[in-house]
Amino acid sequence: MYCELCKKNPATIHYTKIVNGHKEERHICEQCANTMKEPIGAFPTLGLMPDFSMADFIGGFFNQENQSQPFVQKNMSASDACPVCGMTAGEFRKLGRVGCSNCYEYFSDYMPGLIQRIHGNSCHTGKVPVRGEAKLAEKQKIVLLREELQTAIREENFERAAQIRDEIKMLEQEGGHNA
């Protein structure tokens, strides 16, 4: 039996349409079923639908054009790669996943709206790693020391400046060991 619409392909989908009590049997091919405007009762072609993929879903955000706030920063090319893990912008777009923790920083310009779109405008409020807290304090200490260093240089107190510089170096090295 050939498809009653295109009359070329074999009819593989058979269904009964009931309109106002009037029964009508239809025999069509998959191709025509896909192009039909009216939905077919039990969606016989549903099995042909590819599985939902979270990666495609996230990647899809990048392909939305004409948005008031452009989602993709045009100044980043698909071959731009995270210096730590080598994940490229193109790959990230395709996989919807990042390659390392640095990617979140590296791609932050590239995906300004992504995180908000998934999580809203919130800030993490849950558990904080114990070491994370210590490191945070360390980071803040380095920031303060840098300020102090600038002051020392301005005041031409070079002895103190050298001291501070060594202190910063030490702190940074310690951080590097822990990281």
Binding site: M87, Y104, L114, I115, H119, T125, G126, K127
Partner: protein, 345 residues
């Protein structure tokens, strides 16, 4: 030890007693964590992948309750059984030459998948509905691991994960529920509403959306800005609501359709107790009815552990592991019938 764990007829959802065990098979809390010093598994080299395994192997050496396994050395069938027992994900059982590892304790109530999508997926299980206790346990274990290694963490984004949807606290809590009452009264659709509360639902047995055996898993969706406690409180109250609806449905069936229901569950029992050949699908459907009957007091000679062990016996991987080798469909279906008869004997 792994062989013993795989072959044992116990899994977190077949053992013990817990709150609301008539409806809730088990509770799981899973934490996604990454080490800050290595790229995520997606971008791992053999070297950095092995380094993560070595780090966790060393951690397990210091914690004798945990045993470390390189999944490369684990036979395919055993991995399938581990998936069926929910100790690893289907993804983690793939033989794709990634450096996949597992750290597990003796009764399988703790299982850490190493180099799955994230470096660590820390999982804790408990029978029945048990979110608070379980969170305490997972939290302590998480602290222990963190005292050894630096986690990838950002003040604003929380724990950094490979997939941006898991950012935040990286916690997923899941409740495995048996809902035959809602299924028989055609009210499973109430589960569709859970999306509005930030929850997802999926069937446990069978593929896709169909749920064989009427067992469903209800989980939170990870989100930045919600504390672990908020999520657990929310999930707990949703679960209690579903438990209430399920019990209502069961009692309604018993009161208004008692004869029909008792016939249905006794026939299910009769088939399971006497069949010589049974597919996984048929077994799951019948076991669900027997479990329902048990909760309504129809089978005093049975206990829940026996019934849930039948759920496990219905699984093809586990069945072949206890048989000790690969079987074709026919052999499997007849061996399954034999093992189920043994449980009911």
């Amino acid at each position: 030890m792994l062989k013993h764990l795989v072959q044992s007829n116990n899994s977190p959802w077949t053992i013990g007693s817990g709150d609301d065990k008539d409806v809730v098979l088990c509770t799981r809390i899973r934490l996604a964590r990454n080490f800050s010093k290595y790229p995520f598994p997606l971008k791992q080299t053999e070297e950095t992948g092995q380094a993560v395994l070595a780090d966790m192997a060393a951690f397990c050496k210091d914690h004798s309750n945990l045993k470390f396994y390189d999944l490369q050395n684990i036979p395919t069938l055993e991995k399938q059984a581990l998936v069926e027992k929910h100790l690893i994900s289907p993804e983690h059982s793939k033989e794709d030459h990634q450096c996949r590892g597992l750290a597990v304790n003796e009764d399988g109530s703790i299982s850490i998948m190493i180099n799955e999508e994230d470096h660590l997926r820390i999982q804790c299980f408990a029978p029945g509905l048990n979110l608070q206790e379980l969170w305490k346990k997972a939290n302590v274990l998480d602290d222990r691991i963190e005292s050894y290694f630096d986690y990838a963490f950002d003040e604003k984004l929380g724990y950094l994960t490979c997939c941006p949807t898991n950012l935040g606290n990286g916690m997923r809590a899941s409740i495995m529920m048996h809902l035959p009452g809602l299924a028989l009264t055609k009210r499973v659709s109430i589960l569709d509403q859970l999306g509005n509360f930030g929850m997802t639902v999926r069937g446990i047995f069978g593929e896709g959306s169909q749920s064989l055996g009427d067992v469903y898993q209800i989980s939170n969706q990870s989100a930045i800005g919600q504390s672990e406690q908020d999520i657990l409180t929310n999930l707990q109250s949703v679960a209690q609501q579903i438990i209430k609806e399920e019990r209502n449905a069961r009692n309604f069936l018993k009161e208004h359709n008692g004869l029909l229901l008792s016939d249905k569950v006794w026939r299910a029992y009769g088939t399971l107790a006497n069949a010589r050949y049974i597919t996984s699908r048929e077994a799951l459907e019948l076991i669900s009815l027997v479990r329902l009957g048990h909760s309504l007091g129809y089978f005093n000679q049975l206990n829940l552990t026996q019934i849930d062990q039948m759920f496990l016996t219905a699984q093809p991987g586990y069945l072949q592991v206890i048989r000790g080798g690969v079987m074709d469909d026919t052999a499997r279906d007849s061996y399954r019938a034999e093992k189920i008869r043994e449980i009911l004997a």
